[in-house]
Symmetry: C2
Subunit: 407 residues, 2 copies
């Protein structure tokens, strides 16, 4: 059961002029499910991407990076659910390329104008025949208002589809930003969404679009973690079709408004991924403040977010809060002065000067921890920087889902 | 249920001349259990220690480090089970000191000749009165042949006591090394045993004893992990009473034989801690070979050992082996060339040149993974260094134990 997360309201997920989506049942891994998605972009669309930092990344990630560098003008994306095509060596590259070539031929574009994405089981061969058979069906189904359906088609162990839109008025014209994402497990920054596709009808140069995405990802997708496992396939794409007729230029107020809209879409998708994390019963915000640098605060927040002992205590609503400070202590921040640390759980002030407050009553923390959303706030007392990380708890169901994933 | 681990055979756990142990029920946390242990060392005993690198370390760890530095000649250890005395600020130091002073008075030695150790719940005040009331009972019970009882008295969530002995003949005389340990959870190198106490009747200078311990810990206690959480209280002690009359000198054959015996005791205790890891159903050896450096191999082995996705797949005996390579990929070893990687599970050759072998049959790996002991061997193909790490799987019971620990 996801934590306070409702399915997207299809009426509120806005199409983006210049983007069409076609979906089909290709039987990539399972029969009778829509598992193959094609995005087409109008000519002139700019595309930015952020990908997994896992060195053992999947074949489609390698191809995406290459095609984005070529700058031939990206015109399409091909996404399959069920087979990651990672850990597949040269054969994996050949297979991914074969599907890219088929889509390019089917749309009358060049192969290097296609970005491929895969999610699913690692180290199994990509079923090229089934995907190639599905491609013409996707292409003939291309339509503007398919975002919510696409959000469903890219799901794996997700229990709820993830999609959202934002609009902002610039120079009297409305710009729309819409995105979809999938997550559930193997989710950990560096970068870190499983797959997320965001598009806008603003006109933005590729260089500027990439800067927007790099900035936004730090405080959204790279600030969430489910289990600390960085996937082989993580990909985040931001495409700008320019169909609104509004061109954005760096360092203007309009640019800031646009970036804010992209940030809000990415944050909502990132939070949705945590809320629907495998086995999640709690949505946990870890805010580390007054640290020596953003990096140091982020490091401590991450150590806490990854600690299985903290995560199981959260699952149990057990204020065994020393585990939080223990995780802080091994995060590896040299400047840390434990005697200056203060900690709140929700509104309850638990620790000051590194030790438990004399008037702290465990029942107060216990009450806060029974809520589905929990805020852990650490004040390091040694600087002005801060960082926030979001995570979920560790439940029986996490083990169940990951022990049973392939069966 | 621990993985292939039998309780120690008390007849095989050998006393160490010059070491006496007294145990009592002090009611530190729970009634009716032996939870307070005193070790006394003969005059002239040298003592070496390795402690947690967690910056948020417990009060007793701070005191141990100070007393070892003072070199007043350590004559006693005081170990309580139930209260970690970590995250307790200045008050925790005062309380730990109060118990140290009581033991010193009771034995007629100086407080700085006492090393205190605690294990249990973090951030709760040490029950000084109950411990001080128990100390005279421990002192009056001091006897040589209490090692196995002490192994029981230091347990927390351990299901089996951990103790072992080795003997080696040097210059016609027998030297004995005996150790006990406790573990179960929150166990992760840097350093990493919860508590482990080893003693020998050899005579070894403190400097040399510390070098032996530092060398041995790297490939034993610092090469195991249960959940990646470095505890606030981890402590490993090696004491040398000299009662055998054999004095060891650096860089001799005798020294190598002695170090080997210490290594074997530490390795057996470290393995026992993994085998009895919280919820463990599998004992997993991760051997990384032909890497660019020991450190790089260790980093990759650790990333695999920490991955919840790998650990849940091991629990399920599901050869979802791409997860192992994904963990390798995010370990952060720059020299890694994934196209050169080869992987075996037990005797089954799964991956070569970074991809799945053409003749690999999943049923073979599946059969290996059903065993209680699993060997994962990665050959990086880019050097001559290697490292081995031991861990266990991640089961429903891990979550259960850690969600329920305090209740």
């Amino acid at each position: 059961m996801p934590v306070k997360l409702a399915p997207p309201d299809a009426a509120k997920i806005l199409p983006i002029a210049g983007v069409k989506i076609g979906i089909t049942e290709a039987g990539v891994r399972k029969a009778n499910r829509r598992d193959l998605t094609v995005f087409s972009f109008a000519s002139g669309t700019t595309v930015a991407g952020v990908f997994t930092k896992n060195q053992y990344c999947a074949a489609p990630v390698l191809i995406c990076k290459q095609h984005l560098k070529n700058s031939a003008g990206i015109r399409a994306m091909l996404i399959n659910t069920g087979c990651a095509n990672a850990g597949t060596g040269d054969d994996g590259m050949v297979r991914a390329q074969a599907t890219v070539t088929t889509l390019a031929a089917s749309m009358g574009i060049k192969p290097e104008q296609v970005l491929p994405f895969s999610t699913g089981v690692i180290m199994e061969p990509l079923p090229v025949d089934r995907i190639n058979a599905g491609i013409p069906k996707c292409v003939s189904a291309l339509a503007e208002n398919e975002w919510t359906n696409a959000a469903h088609a890219i799901m794996t162990t997700d229990t709820i589809a993830k999609a959202c839109s934002r609009q902002v008025v610039i120079d009297g014209k409305t710009i729309t930003v819409t995105g979809i994402g999938k997550g559930a497990g193997m989710i950990h920054p560096n970068m870190a969404t499983m797959l997320s596709f965001v598009a806008t009808d603003a006109a933005v140069s590729q260089g500027l679009l990439q800067r927007v995405l790099d900035d936004v990802v730090m405080d959204t997708f790279n600030a969430i973690t489910i289990d600390g496992d960085t996937s082989t396939n993580d990909s985040l794409i931001l495409a700008a079709t320019g169909a609104s007729g509004v061109t954005l230029v760096d360092e203007t107020l309009n640019y800031a408004a646009f970036k804010q809209a992209v940030y809000e879409v990415c944050l909502e998708l990132a939070h949705a991924i945590v809320r629907d994390g495998e086995g999640a019963t709690k949505f946990i915000t870890i805010a580390v403040e007054n640290g020596p640098s953003r990096e140091a605060c982020h490091k401590i927040a991450k150590a806490i977010a990854h600690s299985p002992l903290v995560k199981t205590a959260m699952f149990a609503s057990d204020p065994n809060l020393g585990r939080i400070l223990a995780a802080m202590g091994y995060a590896g921040v040299a400047e840390l002065d434990v005697s200056k640390v203060s900690m709140h759980i929700g509104h309850v002030h638990v620790v000051e000067n590194g030790g438990r407050r004399a008037d702290y009553v465990e029942a107060d923390a216990s009450a806060v921890m029974k809520e589905p959303e929990i805020l852990i706030k650490l004040n390091l007392g040694i600087g002005n920087a801060k960082a926030t990380v979001w995570t979920c708890d560790f439940s029986y169901d996490y083990v169940k889902i990951n022990a049973d994933y392939r069966s």
